[in-house]
């Protein structure tokens, strides 16, 4: 039985590794992954809080001589997903070893083998876990640290207090500040464990604090690399980057770490909606039916191992309802931003704890039907094999293996730029991915790429125009911040189409230019010569629409990007005046950037010359229907 179970474990882990590896994005995933990849390559500073641990591990993996730099850095999440699953395997094993110690089950029994495997399968094929594994972000690494801390907490509860565990936990908590700060939520459950060993813990506290600070020193990466003027996502020209501002996420204003913590608990009004949202995520990942086993599991652990229950349940509460209250209390109805940027990312540790209780619940159930020997044996195996069904399902629904859309969007955006143009972008997808192409891939480095972090801002991030000594000769206006001169020269392109809140709205209007907008000064007339020389139709060959029709993923950020590609075809179609008009296609809509809405109006005179572009527009829009995103209610 032991060899069979171990063989099954090896096959299971190997299968998950293969599935994850073959589901990975081939080069450039959506969202902030592009920024993380670029920051890693330059040993730089990613978006707040900087993620130095991810940047350095990412840099390490770029030395692997396979594939491209984007893909290599995307290997980190599956690696840490597997390690997290391995830790979960040990956590569940440890959970049952409490029973073993208490004589409830025999050593090396069937339970010790099959239940940990059930746990890794349940988590490993859950939607959010799979999604985060294949999309090049740091959440699996964060989960790994959380599972490691959980394992250490359980060790203390099982074996008694050892100062080394306290020191290691403190050190790991310190290190976790070099990543997503949510791992710090483990402080409370660990403090509960410490209360059980109050006196020895107090003696270990001073050195633990020192080890925490040593771990925290990983953030010196941010300070030193900033001194070196290395790539930094949040740098703005003319503003000095402050080390503590990055760590405390002051960049996000309302999302600043301390403000989130203090404001969230000033009122309990939205606790109900936050809880509902979290339960929705549980349903999407595991189904409501599993709640029954979760409750049974919690009851079982509470009854048999009270201290362990307190530790695990407090950890679950911190990562589920408390985190929900802080970040996930808004409406999720039709809000893919809330669902995918918060719900689908932040709750991996909560799902992990949920699975622990769930597995304990199934164990409890099987114990209750012990006298029915066949059922007693078959039920756990049934749960294992039923879960296997989700592997092909996840692959066909969410896999990123053929998702070149983001890469080609950015490449096509740069390809359509005239030589020595200034391209301004706004939004994670457009900015981060263009940085990757321009800075890591050195594609079209004749273009000066500026980035704004707020729609209405004119404070540029100039990472895409570095080094200044080389670019200044070609783009003196950029360094003088003379945007009007750039517009006058007809060199200024932006992905922002201008609405009334934008400061340039008064002085300029825009003309759709394939994937961006060309800016024209209102006072200087239409600059007809410049507009005519844009030759929008001739740029169509630089676009790559095929990947917006075959990417095979349900990632809403990919959908959003592809819808911009669809609009590019409308822009091209509208620039053609057919000889024999057959009708008119009008689109009067708004493009949404969070709470900001930008008008988009186009008038296409339909004819033989442009009907293929309209057809492509429709096909891309239909293929990238946001309702296809699995998490959308």
């Amino acid at each position: 039985m032991r060899i069979q179970a171990e063989l099954f474990a090896i096959i299971l882990f190997s299968s998950l590794i293969i599935i994850y590896l073959f589901s990975l994005n081939p080069i450039l995933p959506s969202g902030d992954a592009g920024g993380l990849i670029t920051a890693s390559y330059f040993l730089g500073i990613a978006h707040s809080p900087g993620y130095p641990l991810y940047s350095e591990l990412g840099k390490l993996i770029t030395f692997l001589p396979f594939s491209n730099i984007g893909f290599r850095i995307s290997l980190l999440p599956p690696l840490f997903s597997i390690l997290s699953l391995l830790m979960l395997y040990h956590i569940i094993k440890e959970l049952f070893s409490f029973n073993e110690r208490e004589g409830l089950i025999k050593k090396e029994s069937f339970y010790l083998k099959i239940f940990p495997l059930m746990g890794i399968l349940f988590l490993g094929v859950s939607y959010s876990f799979y999604f985060q594994t294949i999309i090049g972000k740091f959440y699996p690494l964060n989960l790994f640290l959380v599972t490691l801390l959980t394992f250490l907490g359980m060790k203390v509860l099982k074996e008694g207090f050892d100062r080394r565990y306290a020191y290691l936990c403190a050190f790991l908590l310190g290190i976790s500040t070099g990543l997503h700060h949510t791992a710090l939520f483990m402080t409370l459950p660990l403090a509960i464990v410490a209360l059980f060993y109050f006196k020895p813990f107090l003696r270990a506290l001073p050195l633990s604090l020192i080890f925490f600070l040593i771990g925290f020193s990983i953030n010196l990466h941010i300070y030193l690399r900033n001194l070196k003027d290395a790539f930094a996502v949040v740098r703005k020209e003319g503003f000095a980057l402050n080390f503590m501002d990055i760590i405390l996420r002051k960049f996000y204003r309302e999302g600043e770490s301390l403000r989130v913590l203090t404001s969230a608990f000033s009122t309990m009004e939205d606790l109900l909606s936050a809880s509902k949202n979290f339960l929705y995520m549980i349903d999407a990942n595991f189904g409501y039916i599993t709640l029954l086993f979760f409750i049974l599991g919690a009851f079982h652990i509470l009854r048999t191992k009270g201290k362990l229950f307190l530790f695990l349940f407090s950890a679950f509460l911190m990562f589920s309802f408390v985190l929900s209250k802080l970040t996930f209390s808004g409406s999720i109805e039709g809000n893919e931003g809330m669902l995918y940027i918060v719900g689908n990312q932040y709750f991996l540790p909560a799902f992990c704890f949920y699975v622990i209780f769930f597995v304990a619940g199934i164990y409890f159930l099987t114990e209750k039907i012990k006298k029915f020997k066949l059922l007693h044996r078959v039920i756990p195996l049934l749960f294992v094999f039923l879960t296997l069904i989700f592997i092909p399902m996840r692959y066909t629904q969410t896999s990123q293996a053929n998702n070149w859309s983001l890469y080609y969007y950015s490449k096509d955006l740069l390809s359509t730029m005239p030589i020595s143009a200034v391209l301004n972008t706004y939004g994670d997808n457009k900015s981060f991915d263009t940085w990757y192409l321009k800075l890591v891939g050195r594609y079209r480095d004749d273009v000066c790429h500026t980035v704004v972090f707020r729609y209405e801002s004119l404070d540029w991030n100039l990472e895409g125009c570095k080094p200044q000594k080389l670019y200044e000769a070609l783009f003196p206006e950029v360094y003088k911040r003379d945007i009007i001169a750039l517009i006058k020269e007809g060199r200024y392109f932006s992905t922002i189409g201008l609405n009334e809140i934008h400061p340039l709205h008064e002085v300029a209007h825009t003309k759709p230019y394939v994937l961006s907008y060309f800016y024209i000064l209102k006072e200087s007339g239409l600059q007809k010569e410049k507009i005519n020389s844009l030759e929008v139709v001739s740029l169509e060959k630089f676009l790559t629409p095929s990947y917006c029709l075959t990417h095979g993923t349900d990632d809403p950020l990919t959908f959003a990007q592809c819808r911009f590609v669809a609009l590019a075809y409308l822009n091209i179609a509208s620039s053609i005046i057919p000889k024999k008009p057959e009708g008119v296609f009008r689109l009067d809509t708004t493009i949404r950037y969070g709470s900001i809405q930008e008008p988009y109006r186009v008038n296409v005179i339909i004819g033989k010359e442009n009907e293929k572009y309209l057809e492509l527009y429709e096909r891309i829009i239909n293929y990238n229907d946001r309702r296809k995103a699995f998490l959308l209610p």
């Binding site: 390490l60 030395f63 290190i175 771990g215 594609y443 000769a473």
Partner: protein, 213 residues
């Protein structure tokens, strides 16, 4: 209690070695599969689509891959064949960028990248100069400026990057050694001193690496 058994068991070391070999093998199989797949797409494509298909072959590179070599050779000849400057520039830029993106601790096909730089600078200057009424001095100025940009290497130093990331792993490991070996009961001063010194060494090296990379 911990410390009675070594923290890292031998079986974990063996397991890790097998794990790494397994991953490398999988990466090889994956990249081989995708290179074959994208090469098949080349046959079905024309014009710039062909360039993009070869680009994807290169981006799925593995060491000593004959597919990458063939893709680079073919792309060079395809690029030469484009008559329109914008298309030719797109092709050269694509080839250069895809090769740069497969850079690891060494740059494969560095000689090809070097060969492409003046060609790209020339095309950029020509295309830009068309709008500037074709003055020869202007062409020369833009050509030199573009060549300077193309020659500029802005990635952090490979050597100091390797020093930095391995030093980070070094000081984290040293700290774990200090905790588990040094703070055993009774205090093991030998491990404490060894771990402490190696921590300081790696930590200083890490700081140095961050400043020099």
């Amino acid at each position: 209690m911990i410390g009675e058994k070594p923290f890292f068991y031998r079986k974990y070391v063996i397991f890790s070695i097998f794990f790494i070999i397994f991953i490398l093998l999988l990466l090889f199989v994956r990249n081989f599969y995708y290179q074959v797949l994208h090469e098949k797409e080349v046959k079905k494509s024309v014009g710039l689509e062909k360039v993009k298909a070869y680009e994807r072959v290169i981006l799925n590179h593995f060491p000593l891959s004959p597919y990458t070599e063939r893709a680079v050779k073919e792309l060079l000849s395809i690029c030469e064949g484009f008559l329109e400057e914008k298309e030719k520039n797109y092709c050269y830029e694509t080839l250069r960028s895809s090769l740069i993106q497969i850079r690891s601790f060494y740059q494969p096909y560095e000689e090809v990248i070097d060969e492409l730089k003046p060609k790209i600078a020339d095309l950029r200057a020509t295309l830009k100069n068309k709008g500037e009424q074709g003055k020869k001095e202007e062409y020369e100025r833009i050509f030199q400026a573009q060549l300077e940009i193309l020659n500029y290497h802005h990635a952090p130093s490979c050597f100091w990057s390797i020093v930095t990331v391995f030093s980070l792993l070094g000081w984290i490991t040293s700290l774990i050694i200090v905790i588990f070996k040094g703070f055993a009961k009774p205090l093991n001063k030998r491990w404490l001193a060894f771990g402490g010194v190696s921590y300081l060494f790696f930590f200083c090296l890490w700081l140095l690496g961050l400043l020099l990379a």
